[in-house]
């Protein structure tokens, strides 16, 4: 019996390591490729590099719009996060902790955003944003990202909000504290980890967004990282793999840093607080 158990846990560990390998090894592989000369990547099929170079990074950092794209991506992502958080917190509080007729229908209506065939309705979106003077603006792009971050963000906060006891509001009501003040002074501090999580969610939604940025940001100097990267990598007839690898690493590093700093808060913020 004891033996069986340890075989099972060894097997489990093996499967976990395999999953982790499939999910993360490509990043290490591309990191290695980014330090190899392109010609060697194309000709040499060995796993161990013959020579290492930083030329791919030199061309990424000094001959492409990398820094501009990073700044643009950050601007759009920060707008998205700043607009999303109040909308998500207010929306989630409304759906999960107030009572009014139709709140279930409204929350389903919000989730209906994801029915929207994004690739297919960029034309009408372009028209409407053109009328609103939001074309070629980072704010317009951020509004689009916000619309797609908010509905799921509201749902992500549910576990946290539902885990708070209703006595919080009851006690506040007995003390004569209004519902709005209860939300701001009592509930929001309680859901702080949840807010970090939805901020990360909104950030990633914006950081990875491709289609709306491509449609709405016309000027080259407004382009975000995914647009710029796609242009320099897949815009050419032959892909320069060394350079592409450096571009991929350069785009993954900001996300890597984000998760290094606040990554462990993500899962904590979307669960009801059982994770230490």
């Amino acid at each position: 019996m004891k033996l069986n158990f340890s075989i099972f846990s060894l097997l489990r560990l093996f499967v976990i390591i395999m999953i982790l390998f499939i999910l993360l090894a490509p990043f290490l592989w591309i990191l290695l490729a980014s330090f190899r000369p392109n010609m060697e990547l194309v000709r040499n099929q060995s796993l161990i590099p013959n020579s290492l170079t930083i030329e791919n990074y030199v061309s990424l950092f000094s001959k492409s719009g990398y820094w501009q794209w990073i700044i643009n991506s950050l601007i759009v992502a920060i707008y998205t996060v700043l607009i999303s958080i109040p909308l998500i917190v207010a929306g989630a509080y409304s759906v999960y902790r107030t009572y009014f007729w139709g709140r279930n229908a409204l929350s389903l209506f919000l989730l209906s955003v994801y029915i929207f065939p994004t690739a297919l309705l960029v034309v009408p979106i372009f028209r409407i944003f053109n009328d609103l003077k939001l074309v070629d603006s980072h704010l317009g792009c951020a509004l689009m990202n916000t619309a797609f971050a908010v509905p799921f963000g509201i749902w992500l906060l549910q576990a946290f909000l539902k885990s708070l006891p209703p006595e919080l509001e009851e006690a506040a009501a007995v003390d004569g504290i209004g519902r709005m003040r209860t939300l701001i002074q009592i509930i929001i501090p309680q859901v702080a980890p949840g807010i970090i999580a939805i901020a990360m969610f909104a950030f990633i939604v914006s950081w990875t967004e491709y289609l709306f940025a491509m449609t709405l940001l016309l000027s080259n100097d407004l382009h975000t990282l995914p647009i710029g990267l796609t242009g320099i990598v897949f815009g050419q007839y032959r892909v320069n793999w060394g350079f592409a690898a450096a571009g991929a690493v350069g785009s993954a590093i900001p996300v890597f840093l984000l998760f290094l700093i606040v990554g462990r808060w993500f899962i904590r913020g979307i669960s009801a607080g059982a994770i230490k």
């Binding site: 976990i16 982790l20 999910l23 490509p26 592989w29 591309i30 490729a33 909308l87 998500i88 207010a90 409304s94 999960y96 009572y99 009014f100 007729w101 709140r103 279930n104 389903l108 209506f109 209906s112 994801y114 929207f116 065939p117 690739a119 297919l120 309705l121 034309v123 009408p124 028209r127 409407i128 619309a147 908010v150 509905p151 799921f152 749902w155 549910q158 576990a159 209703p166 509001e169 990633i204 950081w207 990875t208 491709y210 289609l211 897949f234 892909v239 793999w241 592409a244 991929a248 785009s251 993954a252 996300v255 998760f259 990554g263 462990r264 899962i267 979307i270 669960s271 059982a274 994770i275």
Partner: protein, 306 residues
């Protein structure tokens, strides 16, 4: 303050709080759909060009368009393979790493990385890994004598769809896994302890505690995940552009190509509306079939405002 008074004030506040999100969704979803329906009834070919009203002609043309019908089929397979498979795989992985082990926190933090990088990075990673002559997957398989000739993961029409499904799953499964993990962590510990006292087997615990507690999450991810999968565009566009031939041309890819490379915006938009209509029917059936799981909020706060 009377009870009635309190209740109506509470309702008003609740409605006002959710209003901004609703307005934003109407602005970027409902209005474009109305505008899209208008465009689909015209003959407009490029943005800003002259056009006239042609009624349902675009729709009739699409129903006779073999390429469009084929893309509907490919989208159906894509959604089944991605939406369904990903949810199931994520659930299994979450159950696997939910039990404590050394390094659990590391796994819980970093497993999500594939979801957090732009699709362009994913496309570079996997086009490079799948490369016929110098990609790691092919060189490894050759080195182990598993294959004689390199596998053309993205250039062989029989395999390209599977390769893309793999890459897209690689991208989304981590995120779904994290959500399941969070949901598992929210199951009250007392329920398991009580079950252990009663001598319940692990399978019985799963069936009577874990699964019922996961069901609302599973249902929402089933709906949202299917919708996400059906609208996947960027990763297909960057890796195969719908090719080789039409092998990976799902509806979003075909419509995008038709609108911006085939210069037929109105017909492409009509195709989008048909696709949207199918998704709406799916969503209604799904929500109706699982309506008990979609009662989003508990009724605790109904009592509070009485």
């Amino acid at each position: 303050m009377t009870k009635q008074d309190f209740r109506s004030r509470d309702a008003r506040l609740g409605f006002l709080l959710v209003l901004p999100a609703v307005v934003l969704v109407i602005l970027v979803v409902i209005l474009p759909i109305i505008s899209g329906i208008q465009i689909s009834f015209t003959s407009q070919r490029v943005v800003g060009s002259e056009y006239e009203f042609i009624g349902l002609k675009n729709y009739f043309e699409l129903f006779e368009d073999k390429q469009f019908i084929a893309s509907l089929g490919k989208s159906a397979i894509w959604v089944l393979a991605n939406g369904f498979f990903q949810t199931l795989a994520a659930l299994l992985i979450a159950l696997l790493i939910n039990q404590p082990f050394r390094g659990q926190n590391f796994v819980r933090t970093w497993i999500i990385l594939p979801w957090a990088v732009p699709a362009a990075v994913t496309a570079i990673l996997w086009r490079w890994m799948f490369d016929a002559s110098s990609g790691i997957v092919n060189t490894t398989m050759k080195g182990m004598d598993l294959v004689q000739k390199p596998v053309l993961f993205l250039a062989n029409p029989d395999i390209a769809g599977m390769s893309l499904t793999f890459v897209n799953s690689w991208r989304y499964i981590p995120f779904l896994t994290i959500i399941f993990l969070a949901s598992l962590a929210s199951v009250p510990e007392e329920e398991y302890e009580a079950a252990k006292v009663d001598g319940a087997t692990p399978w019985l615990q799963f069936k009577s505690i874990t699964f019922p507690n996961l069901l609302p999450t599973l249902t929402v991810l089933g709906l949202v995940g299917t919708l996400w999968a059906s609208n996947v565009f960027d990763i297909i566009w960057m890796m195969t552009r719908g090719g080789p031939g039409d092998a990976t041309t799902t509806v979003p890819v075909l419509m995008y190509d038709m609108a911006f490379y085939g210069y037929n915006i109105s017909k492409a938009t009509a195709g989008a509306i048909i696709f949207l209509f199918i998704l709406i029917i799916f969503a209604f059936v799904f929500i109706f079939a699982n309506r008990k799981q979609f009662v989003i909020a508990s009724d605790t706060f109904q009592d509070l405002s009485k």
